[in-house]
């Protein structure tokens, strides 16, 4: 099996060819939005910090911003900064340019003399970049160029019973074909970490998985919080999930059964091929943000209660096995797997159906969230603003 993608010079491949309008800080976000709205082929993200942060928060934000620009779905980036932020536009540009040779330009609102002058220059740059991107043709790509992020959000009991096992089957199929998959949301391993850790390819990876959960609980405890108070969420409880353990045991099924070959920190790029896990928050939008920064070029997202979420750079394919949710929120759902609950569809067949749909998305088919132009983002924080 192959897909049609955009080959990048670093050996990776995109399934989209976006021009990314990237703010360095909150003060550049509105200008970035206006620039993207003026140029077909451009997408923007909203970044709500970039200033008055402690070093650990800045490090996290920088990993996300540079990871977004380097994501293989991005052709090139136009950076918009202010001038007095923690990491100004020139520095961010140089950093990204040291990581990738794709076209990157940057502007500062204070340098240019206000937003209108900045927007004018940035629109011209984005327009020319989009024109160049439009000349690039899709080429046949090996499945090893696919890195699928696996996410769930708005879970109910159907997630763990049906849609997550189906996505797990998809993940196994992809790994078998040489692609890689990435599962995250480590807080939703808690209570099931002993089951997940059994998939570890090495004893070290086994212990890394347990350690991530132990540290996550300790981190929240240090802030006076209990992970069991926020998990499951009120929506999960209403959907029949009673404890974090029950939620986690259902969550981890979406990662499939193949050996876990690598454990990543948030927004880190994999070095191995196969089934990978990343230590991220259980907050779905933050988790997707980190996986996109880590280089995922497609996201498959299971839900029980329904969610509209989408990402600017990477298509998010929404899957549910809750028949009522599919019917009620069809405008936000891409795939209906409720046949599994009714006993009309096997997990194996569902996995194959998902593979066919995923390949269509890789080849250019828009997901619903993508067609609406959704651009959700949430960057995990270590502590308060200063």
């Amino acid at each position: 099996m192959e897909f049609w993608g955009y080959k990048r010079s670093d050996g990776r491949a995109g399934i989209r060819n976006h021009v990314l309008i990237l703010p360095t800080c909150a003060c550049g976000s509105e200008s970035a939005r206006i620039v993207a709205s003026q140029v077909r082929g451009a997408v923007n993200i909203v970044f709500n910090s970039g200033c008055s942060d402690v070093q650990a928060n800045t490090d996290m934000s920088q990993k996300i911003l540079t990871g977004f620009a380097c994501n293989p779905n991005v052709y090139g980036a136009v950076i918009i900064g202010l001038g007095c932020e923690t990491v100004p536009h020139q520095k961010l540009r140089e950093k990204i340019q040291s990581m990738t040779d794709k076209p990157i330009v940057s502007f500062g609102i204070q340098d240019e003399g206000g937003t209108l002058r900045t927007i004018e220059k940035a629109v011209r740059a984005a327009r020319d970049m989009a024109a160049a991107a439009s000349m690039q043709r899709r080429e046949r790509c090996q499945m090893s160029n696919l890195l699928m992020g696996i996410e769930c959000g708005g879970s109910d009991a159907t997630s763990g019973i049906a849609s997550n096992p189906a996505v797990g089957e998809l993940s196994d199929l992809l790994v078998y074909m040489g692609a890689s998959t990435m599962m995250s949301e480590s807080i939703e391993w808690i209570g099931a970490e002993h089951v997940l850790a059994r998939r570890a390819a090495t004893p070290e990876i086994h212990d890394q998985i347990v350690r991530i959960c132990e540290r996550y609980e300790a981190h929240l405890k240090a802030a006076g919080q209990d992970c069991r108070a926020g998990q499951p969420t009120p929506g999960n409880k209403a959907g029949g999930l009673s404890t974090i353990d029950e939620k986690s045991l259902g969550c981890i099924r979406k990662g499939g059964t193949r050996p876990i070959v690598e454990v990543l920190e948030q927004a880190e790029r994999p070095t191995k091929n196969g089934a990978i896990v990343m230590d991220t928050a259980g907050y779905d939008i933050s988790s997707v943000t980190s996986m996109v920064a880590g280089g995922c070029n497609a996201i498959v997202f299971t839900t029980g209660r329904g969610t509209p979420t989408g990402n600017a750079i990477v298509p998010v394919l929404k899957v549910t096995a809750n028949a009522q949710t599919y019917k009620w929120m069809e405008d936000n759902m891409d795939v209906d797997l409720s046949g599994i609950i009714d006993g009309k569809l096997t997990i194996n067949t569902a996995g194959r159906q998902l593979l066919d749909r995923l390949i269509e998305v890789c080849n250019g088919r828009l997901t619903k969230a993508e067609a609406y132009g959704f651009s959700d983002i949430a960057i995990d924080h270590v502590c308060r603003f200063v």
């Binding site: 109910d156 009991a157 159907t158 763990g160 019973i161 808690i190 209570g191 099931a192 970490e193 002993h194 089951v195 850790a197 004893p203 070290e204 086994h206 212990d207 347990v210 350690r211 959960c213 132990e214 609980e217 069991r228 499951p232 409880k237 959907g239 029949g240 009673s242 404890t243 974090i244 353990d245 029950e246 045991l249 259902g250 029980g304 809750n322 609950i341 006993g343």
Partner: protein
């Protein structure tokens, strides 16, 4: 007849695939239990006890512990966040290479 899904032979709860009234009869699929009568109304996607679960006993789904009972839960009762709780993990016992 209303249905409930049993995910593992060890499980003492099943997931209802529709709203069930008190006294309703549920056909349980996937496990050793065939039919059972509910003692209270259970909402769609929520759990029904397949056997009596004593206070402090483990609640099992997916063949794994999902929590412990806060009260005695009779067979056919609604099992939810109101009557079970999550037990803190014993991480230190899980490491292959135990750290000090």
């Amino acid at each position: 007849m209303a249905r409930a899904i049993v995910l593992n032979a060890k499980d003492n709860v099943a997931t209802c695939t529709s709203d069930v009234n008190a006294g309703g009869v549920i056909e349980c699929l996937g496990g050793a239990f065939d039919v059972l009568k509910t003692v209270e109304a259970i909402p769609i996607w929520h759990k029904v006890a397949l056997a009596p679960i004593e206070k402090g006993a483990k609640v099992i789904k997916y063949g794994e512990t999902i929590g412990e009972a806060l009260v005695d839960i009779p067979k056919g009762a609604w099992v939810s966040h109101e009557n079970i709780f999550s037990v803190p993990r014993a991480y230190r016992d899980e490491y292959i290479n135990r750290k000090e």
